[in-house]
Assembly symmetry: none
Homo-oligomer: 196 residues x 4
Amino acid sequence: MKKREQQRQQTRATILSAAEHIYASNGFVQSSTQLIAKEAGVAHGTVFLHFQSQEKLILAVINVLGTDITTRIHESAKQSHSLADVLRTHLTAIEIHESIYSHLIMDMPQLPKEAQQTVIGIQSIIAHHFDQVLNQLKKEKQMKDLPISFIFNTWIGLIHYYLTNCGLFAPHGSVLAIYKDELILNFLKLLEVDKS
Amino acid sequence: MKKREQQRQQTRATILSAAEHIYASNGFVQSSTQLIAKEAGVAHGTVFLHFQSQEKLILAVINVLGTDITTRIHESAKQSHSLADVLRTHLTAIEIHESIYSHLIMDMPQLPKEAQQTVIGIQSIIAHHFDQVLNQLKKEKQMKDLPISFIFNTWIGLIHYYLTNCGLFAPHGSVLAIYKDELILNFLKLLEVDKS
Amino acid sequence: MKKREQQRQQTRATILSAAEHIYASNGFVQSSTQLIAKEAGVAHGTVFLHFQSQEKLILAVINVLGTDITTRIHESAKQSHSLADVLRTHLTAIEIHESIYSHLIMDMPQLPKEAQQTVIGIQSIIAHHFDQVLNQLKKEKQMKDLPISFIFNTWIGLIHYYLTNCGLFAPHGSVLAIYKDELILNFLKLLEVDKS
Amino acid sequence: MKKREQQRQQTRATILSAAEHIYASNGFVQSSTQLIAKEAGVAHGTVFLHFQSQEKLILAVINVLGTDITTRIHESAKQSHSLADVLRTHLTAIEIHESIYSHLIMDMPQLPKEAQQTVIGIQSIIAHHFDQVLNQLKKEKQMKDLPISFIFNTWIGLIHYYLTNCGLFAPHGSVLAIYKDELILNFLKLLEVDKS
DNA sequence: CATGAATGAGCGTTCATTCAT
DNA sequence: AATGAATGAACGCTCATTCAT
């Protein structure tokens, strides 16, 4: 019987989940390991049994987050043929982890270097899809002739702006759930060339 | 004689200035009152004499920042007749306080609610100018027909994205000094209607 | 079949040996039971199965050490007829366990009372041989007329001084290997009566 | 009025004294800053206000100790013309700080490098006086022809042996108070040349 | 008004010990 | 008999805040 290993993984998962929850609520920097242990219903020391240090715990949470988001984007991207598809794929993947992703973005400068790599990883994959679809549109003259990097940054900036100001845009719930469609629609309009 | 009162205000100003400097370097959350007192050359307790708590001090600094930025925008806006003027006015005002403004944006969720009001205040004034100039352009059909609020958020998001990733875009210096013109130019192109 | 009991003793011996090794390297106070378990290749809990507590483990290690040293002295002492022989026997026995013996001496005040008994036991046996040979020398007027206990303490003190300052005398290796002969020679000279 | 500064120094002295007391009782390694704060009757944080870290506190205590001992030796040494004088000077200086000095010797390998410098400093000064007086004796052939360093180490070893085993020699009090005279007398006998 | 010494709750982390498996 | 996950008290240290001077 593997009950021991099962319980171990269970506890680890509980802590990870509690941490994710706390980080989503309070941000990474403001959350104490003490609080996470309490939320997880384990002794304070147990946190350090499974994750050697606070930093490792944060990185583990971020890693889970990053892996999940990139996987989702990857899955969805198979059917993404238009720019609209790519944008929707991006937002749908993030929406699921909205609160913690928002904190990740904001706390990033205070987080370890490895954490930044995760964010960069997420953005790389979405940038890649952006690149493909925009190059095609450019060739077909169906899009304004602007540097793709600028367009990408505009998009990311827009999304991050809504996310970091969720208190403003959606005080009690998910910003993306509310604004996703509107954001995509308007962003597409912004890029399109008038066929007059 | 009001020398006493003068001295008092002088000390207050010194602390405020020191805090601004420290916050610009280290961010709001990472800075200790101890360090600020040291930077100001006053006793630690003096900080709490002028500002009841750390929170109040932070709010005071943010308030000064907000006032200065809005004033500058207000001043410049008199001569701002085109969208380009408005954008430039905005960036120039922010550029002066780039470091601390960037930290303000990033630390905001960890700051008291009142801090958000200041940021909203800054954005209100620039939004107002946006509104005026964009409505005119819309009427003249020189601009895409998109909600002004969306355009505004796109612009702010873009700027904030560059500011919060200054480490990426401008590791050793001012992001805006480098990208200001490029950002304005590209953003204008994004909005313009093709006259074909 | 006593295989079960055999296995048990085997495990116990493994832990004991690992503990000895770790204590020799890091000292008694600085070593964790965790580390010892790892070194022994057993689970952490197993340590406490065989030795009820850290203290008991330390005592067991010290006991093994004491037994081995006293046995060696006892063996060698059969052929020790001169003071030089006794001194050499003493140092040779200690030299084999130099590292851990040095730590034992230094950590003693922080160790349980029983630990002191072991050290006293070691010294009793060597004191006994001292006594025998020195009494003879005294009778023969070949040695200064000093209390034997004083001479004994001087010798032990000298040796312990070299051992506790091994970092000074022999930064990379065994102090006794280097100084054994010199120490014996000089100590003998110190005791001898000038035959002028 | 300098009441503030006075009180500050008072508190500092209280902590230093409490630390000295605790270190003398429990040794340096076994003592917690918590306990010292309690003993001093101040808040735990206050300890770190006056001494930045545990290490600094330990070093401060050791420094006071070292300074006092070396000063005393220096003072006494003016009238020390014979070897007996030098030995007595040495022991009298140490006797005053017997317990903490004993712990210093034993905990040394676990203490910061600077702590070792203090011990070396104390021994240097006593070594210097040893050197002077022994060279003279040697010249006059009133002493055995042994390396001065060996004699010195024998003396220090002897003293340290008594100190580190105070529990054995003097369970309830000062070892040196009891054995000082005896140790000096016997050590002198050990060195003297028989004038037969 | 200004000081800065003192506070004490809080932090991340370690480790001997226990106990269900 | 052996495991190793879990515990919880203790550690050194930081820092916003208070208050006697």
